[in-house]
Symmetry: C2
Subunit: 272 residues, 2 copies
């Protein structure tokens, strides 16, 4: 089996892949959309997409990819994100002027960076920063990444767990061409997206199909559809298996109310 | 009056400021948190915060700032985002190798960039890219920004409106130390945030206070509170003035259900 993720080895998507599929071949690609396209075009492959981070919120464009393409969510992984500051081995910490990392990583460590007076420089990937640093040999630069990156790229760790908030988690979806769930017996969740006309009470009606059956919601987000100012998309995750009778009935009820609905997947959740 | 925004003159926050306060003094600062802090510390000042973009979704960390600090939302502005590709005047278009812009701008033009075979390079601000390009005099680089940036930094426009989707809007909040709304007679909205224990049906109960009064919701987002795995925050925008009787009653009803609630503001909406 082949696992696609966006980024360089050592980035957090790669770490999530490592956690669930320690023995599978892993391949970094250049964008989230490329992850989805490779999963669709290559047999026996799966993909890893970050969906939400505690500090920066939902990654809505990845929800949009799930709406656009015919892939299924088959697993959820929640990992603790810890940032380490590292440089080339010969660099003295007091010589650091810039910090390179992914914009989301810089955002998550911004208090630390501003206290130290470093200049934050956004690049495409946390581990990609390490690769770039090695290639260029820049002396007055530190990067922010997972600690495994230090060993992989032979860098020196200067400071550890420097994120502003120590409750920093990222939630990933494992996506697949098929519907086969990857493990049984865990807490099962289902993700759906549906579209409605925006009239008063419509969301209340939609949620009634879950509330009446004591189905617990885990996440909800509205997205306006621009160009269609009175239509909205809702992305909802709930606890339960789409094959359970009460979940089936809830979806049937929802179909009576909404303009369209797509089941993104039913999957087990793995929390670190 | 002084208007604070994040970025350089010509960035989209600056354009939003220009639209609502053409004659006020405007000042760019380095972060969204700095915008909020300046609004709190300087008399007679207001701030501009981007809250949501059609293509990339909600900017959740700015909702978090509204939760953390005592500022009020006094106005909403929705502007159409159009990206222009520009270089130093002497550069031939076929010499372009890199495109510099804010990660969100690169994301919104990624099909175009990848078709042209350019290397995307993330920097902190769309208009800031123009400033950097001028300072460094780099020849094989184009930047992505609003068209007004070309004139401001004396750059040559190479291509226009290159965003992947032509329904690209960004929604900004105007924030203030006081509660005074900026204009009357427009469509009025109210933004709130509340926290609840995550038990089945809780959101349904919360939304009932709006549905029973025919109050229309415009936006909803759930945010997990990590470290407190069974508590959630909800950010909700609805149509109506907090001083209207039905809205007052809805909030009173909500207080019976939730753990805490904060009114972020009642404001008029201005759509381009």
């Amino acid at each position: 089996m082949k696992v696609f993720y966006q980024g360089e080895p050592g980035c957090f998507s790669h770490i999530a892949a490592q956690k669930v599929f320690p023995n599978a071949e892993k391949k970094g690609v250049s964008s989230f959309e490329a992850v989805v396209k490779r999963v669709l075009s290559e047999k026996n492959s799966i993909g890893i997409l970050p969906m939400e981070n505690t500090l920066i919120g939902k990654i809505s464009s990845n929800y949009d990819l799930l709406l656009k393409y015919s892939v299924n969510v088959v697993r959820e992984i929640i990992i603790r994100v810890r940032f380490y500051l590292m440089t080339l081995p010969e660099v003295e910490p007091d010589k650091i002027k810039q910090v390179w990392s992914h914009p989301a990583a810089l955002e998550q460590c911004k208090n630390y960076i501003s206290k130290k007076g470093y200049e934050p420089v956004a690049i495409y990937d946390t581990a990609g920063g390490a690769k770039l640093l090695r290639e260029r040999g820049t002396k007055n630069v530190a990067i922010l990444a997972d600690k495994s990156v230090a060993e992989r790229y032979k860098l020196k760790i200067i400071d550890r767990e420097i994120e502003d908030n120590d409750n920093n988690y990222t939630r990933f979806f494992v996506i697949s061409n098929g519907k086969k769930r990857l493990k049984k017996g865990e807490k099962i969740k289902t993700s759906i997206v549906f579209g409605v006309k925006n009239v008063p009470g419509i969301l209340f009606k939609c949620l009634s199909v879950f509330a009446l059956r004591n189905i617990n919601l885990c996440s909800i987000e509205s997205r306006p559809i621009h160009g269609k100012p009175w239509e909205y998309l809702f992305f909802i995750d709930f606890e339960g298996d789409i094959k359970e009778e009460r979940c089936k009935m809830a979806i049937e009820g929802l179909k009576e109310i909404v303009n369209f609905i797509k089941i993104l997947g039913t999957y087990g959740s793995l929390e670190e």
